[in-house]
């Protein structure tokens, strides 16, 4: 079972809609509450990353009996130094995003902590791809 979402940059009105849909689907499949919360927090962070940093992006959810796999791919500025970006508190978010309460530099570290498996690839001026997996 697969669900795809398109995320639009700078659209703070629709921001979070994909995560909410994914969360609901997970609940409908009967995934335990604590895991649903862990996954939705990670997806929400990734969704907000696209809204705040990228130009456009896609989220795909693959739901299977034994695991949940989420791929987040964006077209955007990319990340110059992934190691630095993975550090807690490091952020390049715009002033506008910070005023909205985002850009605390916790996004990627939070995703890394939540997921059972986490991969990140990024090319400067092209985009970033995240793959996260959660075992059921």
């Amino acid at each position: 079972m697969r669900l795809d979402f398109t995320i639009i940059s700078d659209d703070f009105f629709a921001a979070g809609a994909a995560s909410a849909r994914i969360k609901k689907s997970l609940q409908q499949v009967g995934i335990p509450t604590s895991l649903v919360r862990r996954i939705s927090v990670a997806v929400y962070e990734a969704e907000m990353n696209i809204v705040i940093h990228a130009y456009s992006g896609k989220i795909s959810l693959e739901l299977a009996r034994e695991k949940v796999r989420i791929v987040v791919e964006d077209e955007g500025p990319g990340i110059e130094d992934i190691q630095l970006a993975m550090q807690e508190g490091y952020s390049t978010a715009s002033e506008e995003a910070r005023r909205q309460g985002f850009g605390a530099g916790m996004g990627l570290p939070n995703i890394n902590r939540a997921a059972d498996k986490f991969e990140i690839e990024s090319t400067v001026d092209v985009g970033t791809k995240l793959v996260m997996e959660f075992n059921l």
Binding site: M1, L3, G16, S19, A20, K23, K24, S25, Q27, Q28, V29, G30, I31, T33, S34, V36, R37, S40, V41, Y44, L63, A64, R65, G101, N110, L136
Partner: protein, 385 residues
């Protein structure tokens, strides 16, 4: 499936199958089958949204009849603060209480008095440093049930303190037992309710004791009071004997923000009314986006309890009445510290048990089958306009 009581019901005759109720239901608890709505009991949280939107008035809430008070030797009315907001400002709270007595209640203990105890308990709760923040008010039973069903991961945030109704019910029984040597089962406490969720909270409490024997809707009681209040002039001694005990803030619990008034400024509180707004806030909360907030005052009805589905007056108008009545009352809570400590020690201010999750969102007990159903659900949804 465990039997689950719920208060909101359907009048088959009146229902036209228009599906309006389906759209507003926050837990997707309604189906329309063969042209008639069908409420799924295990999903319903008795918020009353469907009662409000039904153009045919086919939804109603089960409550008790006023005549049920005759089943008890001693009868005590425990009116919700919202009850006092139903009357025009030409009627005083003493007169409202006196009319209830004239109608057959031996005594009246305001839920607003219970709110005074609960306000104290909330304030003490926030002095502790071991609590989970933001803490969510537990006073609105529809909100507690919404969390059980849709946001089970937030259950630990619900403040484990009893509702003003439960505390008032206990005080009423205790005082009567003490004063007249009555047995607990001889005393009937009747809550006058603004909403169906409270009916469910009494018949099937989530984590404590309701201390309430019967529930009469505000709309039923309003009619009885209005028809009889003019007879009060024949019983001036009843009016004279009424002494209002609850504080101004106790009465203000009826309206939005009422629960938060007693807090010092250092407790950041967010007040939300109306299920759609509450859902938005809880979604954000669950995504970890409500940092820096200490207290969430959530009321399922727009206008707070004054907007309950079983009230009569418009909530915005009722708010003015409540404010006027409250301004005439003392701002000081009249509760002896000993009395408060006594209730705390007996555990009466706190829930007896944990609140349990009610996970009903899953499409099937087997993940594989649930996945197949979800896939089908997506297919159908995509075809719909």
């Amino acid at each position: 499936m465990v039997y689950y009581f719920h208060s909101v019901r359907l009048d088959q005759e009146k229902c036209k199958g228009c599906t309006n109720c389906i759209k507003g239901c926050p837990t997707e608890a309604i189906r329309v089958r063969n042209g008639k709505a069908d409420i799924l009991e295990e999903r319903c949280i008795d918020c009353g949204e469907c009662i409000r939107v039904c153009p045919e008035h086919a939804k109603y809430a089960i409550t008790d009849d006023f005549s049920d008070i005759n089943d008890y030797k001693y009868r005590i009315a425990i009116p919700a603060p919202a009850f006092f907001g139903q009357f025009s400002d030409k009627v005083s709270d003493e007169e409202i209480i006196a009319t209830l007595k004239m109608l057959g209640f031996d005594d009246v203990v305001e839920v607003a008095l219970g709110a005074d105890y609960v306000s104290m308990a909330y304030r003490n709760y926030f002095m502790r440093d071991d609590i989970v923040r933001p803490a969510i008010s537990s006073a609105c039973p529809a909100v507690v049930r919404l969390i059980q069903v849709r946001y089970p991961s937030l259950i630990p945030h619900i403040i484990p303190i009893e509702s003003p109704m439960a505390v008032a019910g206990y005080i009423a029984k205790r005082e009567y037992a003490k004063k007249y040597g009555a047995r607990m089962d001889e005393i009937g406490t009747f809550f006058i309710t603004p909403c169906p969720a409270k009916v469910t909270a009494v018949r099937q409490p989530v984590a404590g004791q309701a201390n309430v024997d019967g529930i009469i809707s505000i709309s039923d009681m309003y009619g009885l009071v209005m028809r009889n209040i003019s007879k009060l002039k024949h019983y001036p001694e009843i009016v004279k004997a009424v002494k209002v005990k609850a504080s101004a803030n106790g009465l203000r619990w009826a309206r939005p923000g009422g629960e938060s008034i007693g807090f010092a400024d250092e407790i950041t509180h967010v007040q939300v009314q109306g299920i759609p707004h509450i859902i938005k806030v809880l979604e954000q909360f669950e995504m970890g986006k409500l940092g820096g907030v200490d207290f969430l005052e959530l009321q399922a009805c727009p206008g707070g309890c004054l907007g309950g589905a079983l009230t009569v007056e418009d909530p915005f108008v009722a708010r003015v009445y409540i404010n006027k009545l409250a301004n005439k009352r003392t701002e000081d809570i009249d509760i002896a510290p000993d009395d408060y400590d006594d209730l705390t020690e007996q555990g009466l201010l706190y829930f007896e048990s944990e609140i349990e999750a009610r996970q009903i969102m899953s499409l099937d007990a087997d993940i594989g089958t649930a996945l197949e159903k979800l896939e089908k659900l997506e297919e159908i949804t995509n075809e719909l306009p």
